[in-house]
């Protein structure tokens, strides 16, 4: 019995040790990279696929998103806005030069600083696919290009009239879910993104992201297949619906987010309320590799992820360039890491492999002992 007890204690201790090193290492890794996105720049592609006055609300949707991403720090040079742009100066607009986001006209989305990159008849399926895949004529100016790379997080927002697996572009042509999925795959192959957040507000919107097959894409839509998306409200003076319900409630939530907010995508999705929106919004996260509660809203709507403070020059007027910061990582303090960086050369954290082996060895030892003890009840009885 003493031997059994001893082995039991040994097994227990070893498993505790394995667990605790695992926990410590986990903590270490989490702090070193707190579930963080690896991106260094953000882009947004905002598409309003409708035109004509009675589709006022779609323009308001896109402009609302434009205002939000801009407020949260994505520069105009990184926003591709595709907009028919025929609402603000429409003859039927009682409030020329304005596009309002809500009944009662409290917020003018048109403002004074709008940069529409693709306007009017330039909003076509072909141009949209060209923007995504980067297959442009060499004469296309910088402002119309998505110059993203493998460290870019891209927010793609689409709104308009759609149906099962398609979205109409200006009552003229349509884009299918397959087209977008193929375009994203081409972007993935050429490493044009780190992560994509795809949002679509249209009827049967969830069908639009059902065909995606490239990794690191998070998608959300306003309504299920067979379900319509509805507008939020009319403004009696404007005379048409001013914004769609899904976009309205997202923008409303976004107003509580600032540039340094730590709210996650999960928090955003938790605010979805089918009763208010009048449809059932969907989320697709199976292609996305990070847990939703670790993916910050500002990873997609924000500007910059990291900044790195450069240590001061020791000898300011010395000509010697030997003290460049990049070779000595321990002197550089990356901002998003609490200041416990370790000298990389003297200490290397135990590798994942070793930790797993420890964990399993401990568990195996303990399990074996338990099995052994239980499989020999007669011996135990005899001893006791």
């Amino acid at each position: 019995m003493h031997l059994v007890a001893f082995l039991y204690v040994l097994g227990f201790l070893s498993s505790v040790w394995a667990f605790s090193t695992a926990a410590v290492n986990d903590l270490f890794e989490r702090n070193a990279a707190p579930g963080a996105s690896k991106h260094t720049n953000n882009w947004a592609v905002l598409v309003c696929a409708s035109r004509y006055w009675f589709n006022y609300r779609h323009m308001a949707n896109a402009l609302g998103m434009y205002r939000t991403v801009k407020r949260l720090g994505i520069p105009d040079s990184n926003i591709i806005l595709m907009l028919a742009d025929d609402a603000s100066c429409n003859l039927r607009n009682k409030f020329p030069g304005s596009v309002y986001a809500n009944p009662g006209r409290h917020l003018d989305l048109y403002g004074d600083n709008i940069e529409v990159d693709y306007r009017g008849y330039e909003v076509t399926v072909e141009n949209f696919i060209r923007v995504l895949t980067g297959r442009m004529d060499s004469s296309v100016p910088r402002s119309k290009r998505l110059l993203s790379d493998e460290r870019s997080n891209i927010f793609v927002y689409m709104t308009g009239h759609g149906g099962n697996e398609f979205l109409k572009f200006q009552d003229n042509e349509e884009i299918s879910a397959f087209d977008i999925a193929d375009a994203f795959e081409q972007m993935y192959q050429k490493k044009r993104y780190n992560e994509i957040f795809f949002m679509i507000d249209t009827c049967q919107a969830n069908s639009m992201y059902s065909k995606f097959y490239s990794p690191n894409i998070l998608a959300t839509g306003s309504s299920e297949v067979g379900e319509n998306s509805y507008s939020y409200a009319n403004d009696n003076d404007i005379g048409v619906a001013v914004i769609d319900a899904f976009t309205h409630y997202i923008l409303e939530y976004m107003e509580s987010i600032n540039k340094t907010s730590q709210m996650s995508m999960q928090d955003l999705f938790d605010t979805y309320n089918p009763d208010k929106i009048n449809s059932h919004p969907g989320v697709r996260s199976d292609l996305f590799n990070r847990p939703l509660n670790k993916a910050l809203i500002t990873d997609f709507f924000g500007g910059v992820a990291q900044a790195e403070v450069v240590p001061p020059m020791e000898e300011l007027l010395d000509d010697v360039y030997q003290a460049l910061p990049d070779a000595r990582e321990e002197t550089t303090t990356p901002v998003d890491i609490p200041s416990h960086t370790t000298p990389a050369l003297t200490f290397t954290p135990p590798s994942n492999n070793r930790r797993t082996v420890q964990l399993w060895a401990g568990l195996g030892l303990m399990g074996g002992l338990v099995a052994w003890v239980f499989s020999r009840p007669t011996t135990r009885k005899q001893v006791s």
Binding site: Q306, P311, L317, T333
Partner: protein, 494 residues
């Protein structure tokens, strides 16, 4: 027999257009036109898909670029020992040495044009392609090797470092901005001596990096650039928390570079806080004032904060030349770090007689790194072109794409066979540029995808109405012809 027609009406069989020959030739001509137009329709609607040299792409994509480095050691006995140390390091640093392969030769076995020469000297320093190191101290041989290893193949394990360096491009634009938060409040900087700063601190570096990149420079002075947030204030001084740094750039209002070209831009901003926010310091995560004055945004550029003394008269002054020099010195450091130029290892010095800022060792290490990146990039791009063309059926492949793919493959071939580092780098850059150009070819846009049901939905209403009468007429005529023939045969029998 049908009853005879009244005389006023003609017998329909006597009308010329009711004669069988005319009727049948009209119907047949319709069918002939349709049949002949099918190949034309097929030809005009099919997508040109030239075959890509897939076998060659596969074979080149699997090759691994290993850049040999020939090192000539002054002493015959030391070289094999260094080679032994390398062999033992290789076993546990295999990832680091995946792309670079040093060969140490004793003096008597030296190749004609070695990459580097190692000579004996008490204190480590580099000059041209030579390094002076203590060679005869057996105990320090391992650390001697480490110095050489750091020079030839600098560690880049830290992910931060990788994130910081801008992606390779043959052409960069450097945008320098002197940004006053609010010059109207006085005591701001009205001008800086950009020409002197560039000439003294930036241009020498750019000249040395010319074999790798071309640079264009633009600069501007702005007098009003509001911050989008208010910095923390604690008695007399103002601070930027680490979170503030990430949102420091007020991209909605500041225009920091022109959009004249599609080259990647590296930004350098000298920010002068307004008197209301002066002095402005960077805070550590603990909330203390950090001694540093500048910070980097990975791949974007750098920001330096300068707090000039407050002028009693409230005038705006030019930047003092000494400060100007310091600032551009700071910019030059950050430029090197953004471009990924490795620094010399600890303790190794640049020889005083050498007036250049960067040693040849540093530039070579950068070239090696970029060559490896470019080769990998080109290989991956070529593979992805093949995969996509196979995967997406209606993606056109035209002559120019095929030409660029061939060009990229030729450049890759040159990369693998080239001897000198400059040639390896040059052809790798060409390979990645051509492969990207092939990928981004505007003609490669896959036509829109239509599911089969959509095609039926579009074509049926269009063609059914036209084709059905033709079919019916043809069938009727054939039936009539067969009936006539049968009747003719019967008549003959009778």
């Amino acid at each position: 027999m049908p009853s005879p027609l009244p005389a006023s009406l003609k017998d329909p069989s006597t009308l010329f257009y009711q004669s069988h020959a005319v009727k049948r030739s009209v119907i047949t001509s319709y069918w002939i036109i349709i049949l002949f137009s099918i190949p034309l329709w097929w030809y005009t609607t099919s997508i040109q898909r030239l075959s890509l040299p897939e076998a060659r792409i596969y074979s080149y994509a699997q090759r691994h670029l290993k850049i040999p480095v020939e090192i000539c050691v002054e002493d015959d006995g030391v070289a094999p020992k260094l080679q032994d140390i390398f062999a033992s390091r290789l076993s546990h640093e295999s990832e680091r040495w995946g792309d670079v392969e040093p060969h140490f030769h004793g003096r008597s076995h030296c190749p004609d044009t070695p990459s580097y020469r190692v000579r004996n000297g008490p204190k480590p320093y580099v000059r041209e392609n030579e390094i002076y190191l203590p060679l005869y101290d057996q105990h320090r041989l391992s650390s001697t090797f480490d110095v050489l290893a750091d020079l030839i193949n600098p560690c880049r394990e830290a992910t931060n470092h990788n994130n910081r360096v801008v992606q390779f491009s043959p052409q960069y634009r450097l945008a320098f901005t002197l940004l006053n938060e609010d010059a109207a409040m006085g005591s701001s900087v009205s001008n800086w001596d950009i020409q002197a700063g560039l000439a003294d601190r930036i241009k020498p570096i750019l000249n040395q990096l010319r074999p790798l990149h071309n640079f264009t420079i633009e600069s501007q002075v702005q007098y009003h650039g509001r911050l989008a947030f208010s910095p923390q204030t604690n008695d007399e001084s103002h601070g930027l928390t680490p979170e503030d740094l990430t949102v420091f750039i007020n991209s909605a209002e500041w225009s920091l570079s022109s959009s004249a070209s599609n080259d990647p831009v590296i930004h350098f901003v000298l920010f002068i806080p307004s008197t209301a926010h002066r002095p402005l310091h960077i805070l550590t995560s603990g909330g203390n004032i950090s001694p540093s004055k500048s910070f980097l945004l990975p791949q974007w550029g750098s920001i330096t904060i300068h707090n000039p003394p407050i002028d009693d008269a409230g005038r705006n002054n030019d930047l003092a030349s000494q400060i100007n020099d310091q600032i551009f010195h700071e910019f030059s450091r950050q430029l090197l770090s953004l471009l990924g130029v490795p620094s010399l290892p600890n303790g190794v010095e640049h020889h005083a007689s050498d007036s250049t800022i960067l040693s040849r060792w540093q530039i070579d290490a950068l070239k090696r790194r970029r060559a490896v990146e470019n080769t990998k990039g080109a290989q991956e791009t070529l593979m992805s072109i093949v995969r996509l063309v196979n995967q997406i059926d209606n993606m056109p492949v035209k002559d120019d794409v095929k030409g660029d793919v061939q060009g990229a493959l030729d450049a890759l071939e040159k990369t693998f066979s080239a001897k000198s580092l400059q040639d390896i780098f040059k052809s790798s850059a060409e390979a990645t540029t051509l492969a990207s150009r092939a990928f981004f070819n505007p003609g490669m846009l896959a036509l829109l995808y239509f599911p089969a049901e959509h095609k039926y939905a579009v074509y049926t209403p269009l063609f059914a109405s036209a084709v059905i009468p033709l079919f019916v007429a043809a069938l009727k005529e054939i039936a009539a012809w067969r009936r006539e023939r049968r009747e003719g045969i019967e008549r003959e029998r009778q």
